[in-house]
């Protein structure tokens, strides 16, 4: 299975990139983080190729389908989304320190994936639908946005301590100004939120087409609604009540915690209709 070899290589690259970004922070050396960026780009290429190869291999096995249908595949797809989302952010904000906080999320996701069954299994009848593509892609881009936001929120909490003490030193001193981080917390969410909304809607449309009911309060559905409600609260709090800074950061991290539970916790702890984790 060459796709698995490529994914393993991706894992290593994510690990190297995380290490480089962290080393750059400690050594206060921009050049190291520049190498980190190129490793991320290489990882993006390798992981995209791996997804393509896996897709192709599934056709060769006579069960051709998009590679996002079990826990292993969803984890690697999540890591892939985080990496791409991160590269866009790095480019937009022209700051490489985010990498030390976001790339480890991608790396540990891949490490977790490696411990799961990586074989290509055929699709059960319930998943054979074109809605699968739209549903999974929108959800995961949304999740990636929330991951980036939470990474920025974590950085903000570190940074704000120094800013209130009016010092600017050490590793934290290298982080972008609190204002920039605060902006990123918000902006990653306003990308993630519409994607999650579209993900919930495509999921409802699919459920209606497969089972005749667009909403059945299944645990996964309910948790996706909980995530949606938390971010809706975040957006209202920020826009109309001026929740900036620390409170916004804490709400973003809370939102990401519910996202992780919706994504993994529901499958590992609760029961339901979603396939991976079973």
């Amino acid at each position: 299975m060459s796709n698995v070899i490529l994914f393993n290589l991706t894992t290593v690259l994510f690990g190297v990139a995380s290490a480089l970004y962290l080393a750059a922070l400690y050594a206060k050396n921009e050049k190291i983080s520049l190498v980190g960026t190129w490793v991320c780009v290489l990882a993006a290429v390798v992981s995209t190729a791996a997804l393509g190869v896996r897709w192709y291999e599934s056709y060769q096995m006579g069960i051709g389908r998009i590679p996002v249908t079990n826990l292993y595949e969803s984890l690697v797809f999540f890591a892939w989304s985080v990496n791409l989302f991160y590269l866009v952010v790095e480019w937009k904000y022209a700051n490489r320190t985010f990498g030390a906080f976001v790339m480890p999320i991608a790396f540990f996701t891949m490490v977790f994936a490696v411990y799961n069954d990586s074989s290509i299994q055929p699709l059960v009848p319930a998943l054979q639908s074109y809605w699968l593509h739209a549903h999974v892609i929108t959800c995961f881009v949304g999740y990636a946005g929330f991951a980036v936001s939470a990474g920025a929120a974590f950085m903000y909490l570190l940074k704000s301590k120094q800013e209130t003490a009016k010092i600017n030193e050490g590793v934290v001193g290298l982080l972008p100004p609190g204002k920039t981080l605060d902006d990123l917390i918000y902006r990653a969410i306003i990308w993630g939120f519409p994607c999650l909304t579209a993900g919930i809607i495509t999921g409802a449309a699919w459920a209606n087409y497969a089972w005749g009911t667009y909403w059945s309060w299944d645990p996964k559905e309910t948790w996706s609604l909980i995530v949606w409600l938390v971010y809706a609260a975040f957006l209202h709090a920020r826009v109309t009540r001026g929740w900036y800074g620390k409170r916004a950061a804490i709400l973003s991290i809370t939102g990401f915690a519910t996202t992780v539970f919706c994504y993994l916790g529901v499958n590992l702890v609760l029961s339901g209709l979603h396939s991976y984790g079973g």
Binding site: Q121, P122, P194, T197, T213, W217, L229, V230, T240, L270
Partner: protein, 467 residues
């Protein structure tokens, strides 16, 4: 809501605080239009929803008794925790949520519309103070000349400005992305529409379930746990059900060949699979489960000695079937391999006033029974069992309303987040030194960092206009 708060900050005329305490009606109204309530309701809904995922919903009471102590069961049952999402208190939360966002819309939408319809086209001193992006300079020349030049530059660099002349002052005002202001209302409306669709579906629609054995039809359904009976204006026949598997044995496809029968005539025929339902007259049939309908039966083909067919029989184990003018036949035993000659069936034939006959019928040798020299020849067609298909049946006249709401929601959220109401003002005034005093200012309803860059560009373009 972002829109209005910003409009309020920058444009609302300050109102002197009311001296008297607000009336009770105003207090109630203020309660329902507050964003604080919205945040509170969102968080409470989120927390409440968690309970329903921890406590499994709609299970039989025996199951709950196994898990919970009696007192806990009584308490949880009392607060409808076992069917939480349909409990009065959860519905009340949803009503509160809907009332809140409806009131917010009623309160803010007209104000926003007024602001959008009558934008502040004049950059006066008060407005200027509230705008963080602004610059000023002086130019030699005439007021009308510069006004015309800047008007043209603004058109190319940003948007066509509205020109207001006021004595020896000229105001230019240009805006883009006004739609951004409507995004939040479209989103709120979409939620109300989705709820209306859901209510419509609950009142006018039904959900049901039916098992149809192969070869049989159904037109009668039970809904709401058997409390309601529905007679369809047609019937559905299950012609065949089958399962396809992947080479590794995993199921690949569950399929039912269905016919819709109306007034004894087949009007529609479709093979449905999971993810590919059948629809007739607004009623949908979804492939949902399957199973064996009854026991295993042995299929027997009956012919006359001249070879002409005389029918087929399905024998259940041990149950005799009567053949008119002949006698009875029943199956006693079946084997996968009889004396190395493949699958076979042991049958007993009893005729009136004749000795009972026991003999094996071999599936691979259909002509073998001729050696009995009897009036009928039997041949064994193999063992089979009738399958039934389990169909989810649903009618939901509200579903298209729900989809309309969903589409509006995506549009509304995109409008609110990806558009920005950007405004640029220019004020030109004849200065006392004979030069023209120019002030350029701008504001954006969101994504101010991006607008700052855009504003810099506009500023550069406008300043670069030559004499």
């Amino acid at each position: 809501m972002d829109t209005i708060s910003e409009v309020r900050i920058t444009e609302a005329v300050p109102i002197a605080p009311a001296k008297r305490a607000p009336s009770p009606i105003a207090q109630v109204w203020n309660f329902f239009i507050s964003v604080k309530l919205a945040i509170f309701t969102l968080i409470i809904l989120a927390i409440a929803s968690i309970f329903g995922t921890i406590v499994e919903q709609n299970q039989p009471p025996e199951k709950y008794h196994q898990i919970y102590e009696d007192w806990a069961f009584a308490l949880m049952n009392r607060i409808n925790l076992f069917d939480m999402y349909h409990s009065w208190w959860f519905l009340l939360l949803l009503v509160l949520f809907t009332t809140n966002l409806t009131c917010c819309t009623i309160d803010r939408f007209p104000k926003m519309l007024r602001v959008v319809r009558n934008p502040r086209t004049k950059l006066d001193g008060n407005l200027e103070k509230t705008l963080s992006l602004s610059d000023r300079w002086k130019k030699k020349g005439t007021l009308s000349d510069w006004a015309a030049k800047y008007s043209w530059t603004l058109t190319t660099a940003f948007a066509k400005p509205k020109v207001t002349e006021e004595g020896d002052v000229v105001h230019l005002y240009a805006e883009t992305g006004v739609a951004s202001r409507f995004g939040v209302y479209v989103t709120h409306l979409s939620i109300v529409i989705i709820f209306i669709g859901a209510i419509l579906g609950n009142i006018r629609g039904f959900k049901s379930y039916v098992n149809i054995p192969e070869g049989e039809e159904a037109s009668h359904l039970d809904a709401r746990g058997g409390k309601e009976h529905i007679n369809l204006p047609f019937s559905v026949r299950n012609n065949r059900f089958w399962v396809e598997t992947y080479p590794n044995g995993q199921p690949k496809k569950y399929a039912s060949d269905l016919s819709v029968i109306e007034n004894g005539r087949e009007v529609l025929r479709k093979t449905i699979t999971v993810n590919d339902p059948l629809q007739h007259k607004g009623i949908w049939f979804y492939q949902s489960s399957y199973g064996q309908a009854g026991d295993v039966t042995a299929k027997i083909a009956v012919r006359r000695p001249d070879g002409s067919p005389a029918g087929t029989l399905s024998l259940r184990p041990g149950e005799p079937i009567k053949i008119d003018g002949y006698g009875t036949i029943r199956a006693l035993n079946a084997t996968e391999n009889y004396l190395g000659k493949g699958p076979a069936l042991l049958v007993v034939v009893e005729k009136p006033a004749k000795p009972t006959e026991n003999f094996w019928l071999l599936q691979q040798f259909p002509e073998q029974d001729r050696q009995r020299n009897d009036g009928l020849i039997f041949s064994f067609g193999g063992l089979g069992s009738k399958m039934y298909t389990g169909l989810q049946v649903a009618k939901d006249p509200g579903v298209n309303v729900v989809w309309l709401g969903c589409i509006l929601m995506v549009i509304g959220i995109s409008m609110a987040f990806f558009l920005s109401h950007q405004r640029v003002w220019v004020r030109l005034a004849q200065g006392q030194d004979g030069r023209v005093e120019v002030v350029l200012a701008g504001a954006a309803s969101r994504n101010r960092i991006a607008f700052e860059k855009k504003f810099e560009k506009i500023l550069t373009d406008v300043k670069a206009v030559g004499q």
